[in-house]
Symmetry: C2
Subunit: 154 residues, 2 copies
DNA sequence: GCCAGATGGTTGCAATCGCAACTATCCTGA
DNA sequence: TCAGGATAGTTGCGATTGCAACCATCTGGC
């Protein structure tokens, strides 16, 4: 019934698993060592910096970052303590809290983003030819749409 | 100095990040829902099943699974409680504890492995053409060797 | 033979995360 | 208008994990 994985498939899968954890933890370690920020915190700042007015609703932010509501609440607590983000009640919906990137948060992000991009390039992009890059993108798109169709969320 | 990512590179990187967490959590959810075991525990059983005599030193097991010593200690506690694994002092080195797959552990693994393989195929392999599969394997090998050369461990 | 340093494993502690429960607010239908 | 359900965010709790400290054991140099 269930076909086992052949050697090629197994190599791709094992490689994927190893690369996933390896690249992630390498970037994490560099970011923490050089700038004292986790990739989780970095992700919040980066996402906010791309949003209109540098602000987002908590729930949208949580969905984008694949984080649970409680997880985001506490992650934001840390960023607020460091004055990189502030909370702001929404004028339109009083249930909603907006996470807003501060000027300090933006300048901090602009300072560390090059290091992160450099890490992505060094650990990931630089190992791929332009053709492989295109192939990867399309393969990932296909996998992503498969994930979305099976499980509605997350 | 640092080149920013162009659209193609950004698409590949974002796809990689999303697929990493998406595929991992989809497999995790299926494994937990259907058989009440985490991918972490599954990894221990799978690795032990491939070892000589179904036993491995704790430190080797931890290195293979990218787990800290303390993490493995506690993970093993859980598996021991479920009689899937037993601890056995090494005769050669009295510092060493061997993790040994029990008969019950082996039969449990053989029962759930097909589901896991099926999940890998469904969420990952099935979206890739044979050519893409080969490309991926070689790209991953390159990335892995890059990781190893930069950071000696983990 | 013996001491210093390396290695293997466990435990205390703190950080992180998700789920469930809870409150507050919004929205829909009658 | 207003009741019931949906949605947003926070908090309590338990589970997982890594780091540092610790103890036991091994190994190499003398």
């Amino acid at each position: 019934m269930t076909k086992w994985l052949d050697n090629e498939e197994m190599a791709a899968w094992r490689g994927f698993v190893n690369v996933s954890s390896g690249v992630t933890s390498a970037l994490e370690a560099e970011l923490v060592a050089h700038h004292g920020i986790t990739t989780g915190d970095y992700g919040v700042l980066a996402r906010l910096s791309e949003a209109d007015d540098s602000k987002m609703r908590m729930c949208d932010l949580a969905a984008d970052l694949h984080l649970s509501p409680s997880g985001l609440t506490r992650r934001l607590d840390g960023l607020v303590r460091r004055n990189l983000v502030v909370r702001e009640p929404s004028a339109e919906d009083r249930r909603v809290m907006l996470a807003v990137l501060t000027a300090e948060g933006r300048s901090f992000l602009e300072q560390i983003a090059p290091l992160h991009v450099d890490g992505v390039r060094r650990h990931f992009i630089s190992h791929l030819s332009p053709t492989q890059l295109r192939n990867l993108s399309s393969a990932f798109r296909s996998i992503e749409s498969g994930l979305r169709s099976i499980a509605g969320r997350n």
